[in-house]
């Protein structure tokens, strides 16, 4: 069905409105000199990006990226396990557990961290593992709300057939359920990753000196009105995540549940 002119207009207006702040971000990141009264910067410079490389802050970006990737992978695995279990549970128990598992979706981050701080301080061990678990707490529901419907709506016949052929629960999870959700893994990973990647308050309030992440570096730049630096850091922060997921999509494009190679 072809789009009407009104639908084209709506789409163009929306794109323009949402592109405006991103355009401002890009211009400020490259502005060396921008007097008031000019629509575009007078001189362009990449000094903000050079500073990001020279100052060593790219290491913190890399560390944040790896940390969030591990959180996302853990959330995906836990979501798949939980979905597999909920499919086998009695309906009332499954509904109750599902409500518990999506609770972090609506949980206020600040209030949760205030209440949890004393408990975490009394636990043995360093803060990094504790921060990791709190990141999983808030990222898990975003993976779960994508993976669980995939379990419910796809592949129950395959699971029944596998059970009739004598496979155990872990074998069904490994050979049937995990490959079954291959096309849903990328959006689940993406959402869980972006939630963890952009977390500011958890690391700020509960973390130690080794838990400084990239959003914590951007905050003082924004408060100090360091526009070019803050803009460059914001662009690099978003592009790093997008580049990784574009690469992940490219490497996993041609393998689907239907044509995956059978492992003996």
């Amino acid at each position: 069905m072809r789009k009407t002119p009104f639908e084209h207009f709506v789409q163009c207006m929306a794109l323009a409105l949402f592109l405006f702040p991103l355009g401002a971000l890009l211009l400020w990141s490259l502005a060396a000199d921008w007097p008031f009264g000019q629509a575009l910067p007078g001189r362009f410079s990449a000094r903000a990006y050079v500073y990001l490389l020279k100052s060593g802050d790219w290491l913190i970006l890399f560390k944040t990226f790896i940390f969030s990737a591990l959180v996302a992978a853990s959330c995906l695995f836990l979501a798949a396990l939980s979905s597999s279990a909920l499919m086998r549970a009695p309906r009332r128990l499954a509904v109750s557990l599902e409500t518990v598992l999506i609770l972090p979706l609506l949980m206020p981050v600040l209030s949760f961290c205030l209440g949890l701080q004393a408990f975490l301080l009394n636990l043995p061990g360093g803060p990094t593992l504790k921060i990791f678990i709190v990141h999983i707490y808030f990222s898990f529901p975003y993976a779960f709300i994508i993976i669980y419907p995939a379990f419910l709506n796809n592949g129950q016949p395959f699971i029944l057939a596998a059970r009739n052929l004598g496979l155990s629960g872990p074998q069904i999870f490994r050979h049937i359920e995990w490959p079954m959700i291959k096309s849903f893994r990328r959006p689940a990973l993406f959402l869980a990753f972006t939630v963890s990647y952009g977390q500011y308050f958890i690391n700020y309030f509960l973390g130690g000196p080794a838990d400084v992440n990239f959003p914590m570096l951007m905050a003082p730049l924004l408060e100090g009105s360091e526009r070019p630096l803050a803009a460059a850091y914001a662009i690099v922060h978003a592009l790093a995540a997008l580049a990784a997921f574009w690469l992940y999509g490219k490497t996993n494009r041609h393998v689907t549940f239907a044509n995956r190679k059978h492992k003996p």
């Binding site: 401002a24 086998r88 609506l106 629960g169």
Partner: protein, 281 residues
Amino acid sequence: MPGRLRKHGPYGALAAAPAVLIIGGLTAAALLGIAKESLCVYVQSGETARPCAYYAAFLTSPGFWQALAYSFKTAAVSSVLAMAAGIGLAASRSRGGGFLWAAIIAMSYVSAAVAMYDAFGDRGWLARLINIFFAFDGRLNLVHDRRGLGVILLYVFKAAPFTLIACDSLFRRITRQYSSVAAGLGLSPFEFFRHILLPLSRRGLLAIFLVIFVFILFSYEGFYFLGVSIPSSLGELSLRLYSSADLSRRAEAMALSGLMIGAAIICAAVYRSAADAKNSF
């Protein structure tokens, strides 16, 4: 919805245990920590324990109601605008701009706040363009506004792509089932949207609205970076009380946090019932 499989030995329960332990355990620990401090389990020397006194005093405090009004108004306006943008784009079958929406979702709230400040802040890009095209020399600053305009812009910017993706998946299911019948009966696209799409998807839209509204109502980053000191949001008020040099104010901060978490738990139950209806298509 397809029928459920029968329980398959202990594997069924063990598989969900890690996630349930993390989510349930941390939630219980946070609630216990809040209850201990807000219900006066820890009592300072020379004082008598007064359970629930901090909740009662809090609810009669004008600062709390001012913060609640400011947070509620900002969250309501932001959520309605984000939902309108998401529904409009999804209903207009917008397929373009996929990379743009993914980029906005990938941005953190701090990055998005930087973008809002650069675009709409004092001497931002919008102010410069208005100065050039309309010869307006006045200071145009939509950020750090008492009415919360900068905060609203930030949350609409971040929430709209999320609502677009959620509404798109919701509308596609309904459109697949009813669009050919509606076309055969002579309905225009707007009539199909108004009389079929919206009514059938209202519970799903409620679930999406609830997630966005509760998130914005209790959030901290947007109000802190782009808002003003007075009025403060619920999150800012809670952190300010917790960080106060007067340690007795921590109990007030915990009382406020308890109220916020209690409201979130109630909303989670409402979300669950609305989402169950959404998945039934």
